[in-house]
Symmetry: C2
Subunit: 281 residues, 2 copies
C-alpha cells in the first residue's frame, strides 16, 4: 500500500517506521512544511520520497495527517478535495470534534476516518520516532458511521499493523474522555513546572534535589505549545470543566491542611489510591 505521511514528526514518523517494518507500506511519501524534518525523515529511512502535497495525495492509497490539530482541521477539507472514492484519509489528532465538524458536508466525507492513537511523549520531531511507539496501546476511531466501509477497513488494518487495539466512540465522547485522561495532565504538569520555576530561583537546587517523583510529574511540562495550544483551544469547554473540578479537588487538600483535619486528608489520599487498581488492570 502506498502511503502519504503529512507531518513527519514523532507521531507520523513512528507510524511510518512501523508500517514499513510490517510490510504494510510499500512506498511512503513524506509531506511537511518543515524542510529539516523532511530531510531528517528521509535520512532516517522514515520516508521513501519527499513530495508535494498534491503529488503525495494523488499517488497514495492511504493519507495519514499527523500535524497539530488546528492545522489538521484546516488541511483536511483540502485533502478531501483531492481524493477519489478509492482512497482513504485518516488523522492522528488528540481532539476529534473540531476535525469531524470541519468536513461534515464535504462530498468526500466518507473517505475520512477520525483516528487517535493514545500515545505520545514530551518529545517531538522525526528523530524521536520509534517503530514500536504504538505497540500494545489503544487507538480510538470516532464517528465510524460517517466513513465508508472500505475506508474504515483500511484504517482498522492500519491500526492492526501498528499493533494497537481499537476503541470506537463518538467524537464528542472522545473529547470529554481525553480532557480527563490526557489534556488535564498536561495543564497540571505545566502549572507545576511554573510553580516551581516561580519560587525556586536557584535552579541548581531544583536540579540537585529533584527526585524521581518530581520528574515524573513534570515530564509532560516539556511538551511544546505548537501542539498543545490548538488542543486546548479545540477542546476548551471540556478542558475548562475538568480544570474547575481539579482546582476544587486541590482546594479540598488545602482546606484539610489549613484546618489540620488529617482524617479528611487521609480520606482524600485513600480515595486517590484507588487509581492503582485502574492503572494496574
Amino acid at each position: 500500500m502506498k502511503i502519504s505521511i503529512i507531518g513527519v514528526g514523532l507521531i507520523g514518523g513512528s507510524m511510518a517506521l512501523k508500517l514499513k517494518a510490517k510490510g504494510f507500506a510499500s512506498h511512503i511519501y513524506g509531506v511537511d512544511q518543515n524542510e529539516n524534518h523532511l530531510h531528517e525523515a528521509k535520512k532516517l529511512g522514515i520516508i521513501d520520497e519527499i513530495a508535494s502535497l498534491e503529488k503525495a495525495v494523488k499517488n497514495s492509497d492511504l493519507i495519514i495527517i499527523a500535524i497539530p490539530v488546528d492545522a489538521a482541521k484546516k488541511l483536511l477539507p483540502e485533502v478531501l478535495d483531492l481524493v477519489t472514492q478509492q482512497q482513504t484519509v485518516m488523522d492522528a489528532g488528540s481532539t476529534k470534534s473540531g476535525i469531524v465538524n470541519s468536513v461534515t458536508n464535504h462530498v468526500n466525507r466518507n473517505r475520512f476516518v477520525a483516528f487517535h492513537p493514545m500515545w505520545g511523549t514530551e518529545n517531538s520531531g522525526p528523530q524521536n520516532a520509534l517503530s514500536e511507539s504504538f505497540s500494545g496501546r489503544a487507538a480510538v476511531i470516532c464517528d465510524r458511521e460517517h466513513s465508508a466501509q472500505d475506508a474504515l477497513k483500511t484504517v482498522e488494518n492500519t491500526a492492526e499493523n501498528l499493533d494497537m487495539h481499537l476503541i470506537y466512540m463518538s467524537a464528542e465522547d472522545h473529547d470529554i474522555h481525553t480532557a480527563y485522561i490526557s489534556h488535564i495532565s498536561h495543564i497540571t504538569s505545566y502549572a507545576l513546572a511554573n510553580t516551581v520555576l516561580e519560587k525556586e530561583r536557584e535552579e541548581d537546587t531544583i536540579f540537585q534535589l529533584a527526585s524521581t517523583g518530581f520528574s515524573s510529574t513534570v515530564r509532560l511540562a516539556q511538551s511544546h505549545p505548537e501542539m498543545w495550544v490548538p488542543i486546548f483551544k479545540q477542546n476548551k469547554e471540556n478542558v475548562l470543566d475538568v480544570l474547575n473540578e481539579h482546582i476544587s479537588q486541590l482546594r479540598k487538600f488545602k482546606s484539610a491542611l489549613e484546618k489540620e483535619n488529617y482524617d479528611l486528608l487521609e480520606d482524600l489520599i485513600r480515595n486517590a489510591n484507588k487509581i492503582r487498581g485502574i492503572l494496574d488492570k
Copy 2:
C-alpha cells in the same frame, strides 16, 4: 560495621541490600512493628537477624531509622536514650525540621545525623526494595553542625556506599525545597486522580484510554497515606505556601482559556517548557 535498620520497608530495605552488597554492613539487625515485613525481609536476605529495638541498638555501630516521619520523630529520642558516644543514629525521612527539633536538647543529640535520600516510589514494603535504588541520586544532610564529627563521617561513608552524592543544608531550607520538588507533586497527583475518579465513573474507559502521559502524572497518587499524611502534617506551612502558588498558576491557565487568550496560554506553556533545561542538566 553492625547496622540496625528500624523499619524494613522500601527505603530501609533498599539501604540494607546495598550496604551488604558493598561489604559496608557486616551484620544487619531488623526492627519493625510489622511482623510480616520482618519475616519477609529475613527471607529476602535484607536483614540477618530479627531483633528487639533494645538488642538491635545495643549491638549496632549505626542505627538507621526508616519509618514514617511522625513515628520517627517519636522514636528518635528513645533511640538516643540508648546509645553511647561511640554509636551513630541517622534517619531517612522526607521532612527534617520536625525530627531535629524533637532532639534539640537531648544529651546525645550529637550522635544523630539528619539524612534524606532523594528517592522513593509509589510502592512500599521490603518486597519492593532494590539494592540499586539510591545509586546516582542525591542525599541531603541537614544541620551538620549539630552532629559529632565522627558521626557525620559515618553517615557520609554510608552515603558513599549507597553511591549517593551529598548536599548539605539547614533542616529549614530542606523543608522549603522539598515542599516544591516533592511534596506538591504528590498533592497534585492525588488531586488529579480524585478529579478523574470523580468524573469518569466508567472505569473501563479510563483504563482503555489512559495514555502514558496520564499514568506518569498520576503514578504518585498510588503512594500510601501512612507515609504521606505525616509528611504533609510536619511540613504544613511550606506545603500550603506551595499549594496556594500552584492553585494560582492553574487559575492562570483557566483564565487564559476562559478569555480565549491563546497568546497568554502559549506564554504559560513556553515558560513551563524551561523545566526541560533543568531536568536535563
